[in-house]
Symmetry: C2
Subunit: 155 residues, 2 copies
Amino acid sequence: MTDVDVLALDNQVCFALYAANRAVTARYRPLLKTLNLTYPQYLVLLVLWEADGAGVRVRVSDLARRLRLDTGTLTPLLKRLQVRHLVRRIRSDQDERVVVITLTDSGRALREQARTVPGQLLGGSGLDPARVAALRDELKSLLQSLEDADETSVR
Amino acid sequence: MTDVDVLALDNQVCFALYAANRAVTARYRPLLKTLNLTYPQYLVLLVLWEADGAGVRVRVSDLARRLRLDTGTLTPLLKRLQVRHLVRRIRSDQDERVVVITLTDSGRALREQARTVPGQLLGGSGLDPARVAALRDELKSLLQSLEDADETSVR
DNA sequence: CGCTGATAGATTGCGCACAATATAATTGTT
DNA sequence: AACAATTATATTGTGCGCAATCTATCAGCG
């Protein structure tokens, strides 16, 4: 492969990622609109629902690590969910630096309405589930590679 | 598959896409920082550089179509590039609704500095070019499927 | 010509993303 | 105990990304 090809490939794959990501979240938008949620808010709730079922306490930093977001994104997002009484933000007694996020009953109840969301997405798109799963695994692998590289370069 | 699996964060392609996209653009950021560009600004310039070489006029709507962005994103972005004298925004004489975007000499010159950007990205990450190319093709195919579905649903 | 509908772009407003910085609490060290 | 370093979250500011709305222009048609 020539240098030119490598340069072009970089641009192509990054743009493909950029465009595909927006196309997919655009596909989510009308579905989540019925729950009055944005896509990042939905992701936060996915983590909270999962932890709630397992009886695990979720701190802001847990959400940050799981979703690869920082507090500049999460704090205002969580405040908006709090205003809507979907979550509570409670400062920990043991360590007063920590804020624990818990679901309210409304937040817990929203899970039932959200159950139908994933199915309506790819199900209604005529996309091959096996190919989609393979793509997901490639993306996870790519993410892992990038994060591993960051780790080692920092040390 | 149980309901729990469907809502599990790790099982979602969309999250993999979302996280991988941000990881890749984060990888671009320090490189583009040396040119004082953001990733969307860089994408706009890629289109302009390409059209400039081919002697093609680029309208705002051309950028919107190519990059899948709307004017609410593009207009302020282009104004910022204009303030920095990288592009000109000229309203067409033939059709006064149209705004044509042209490169200034500085904007054209920036292309040389940008040449080294892509190679440093995935090339320096020890990722297999063939796998990256396959990923690009899958993403393009996904994007195409989603856009085709939108087309038909509109009619 | 005057009207209607379509088209191109701009504007406003909201919600992310993220860098940079700040604040407060905790831990480690001496 | 005093203090430096670390950790957890919050705040501020900038730039997307997109929905909704607006203005101006153009094209078609009686």
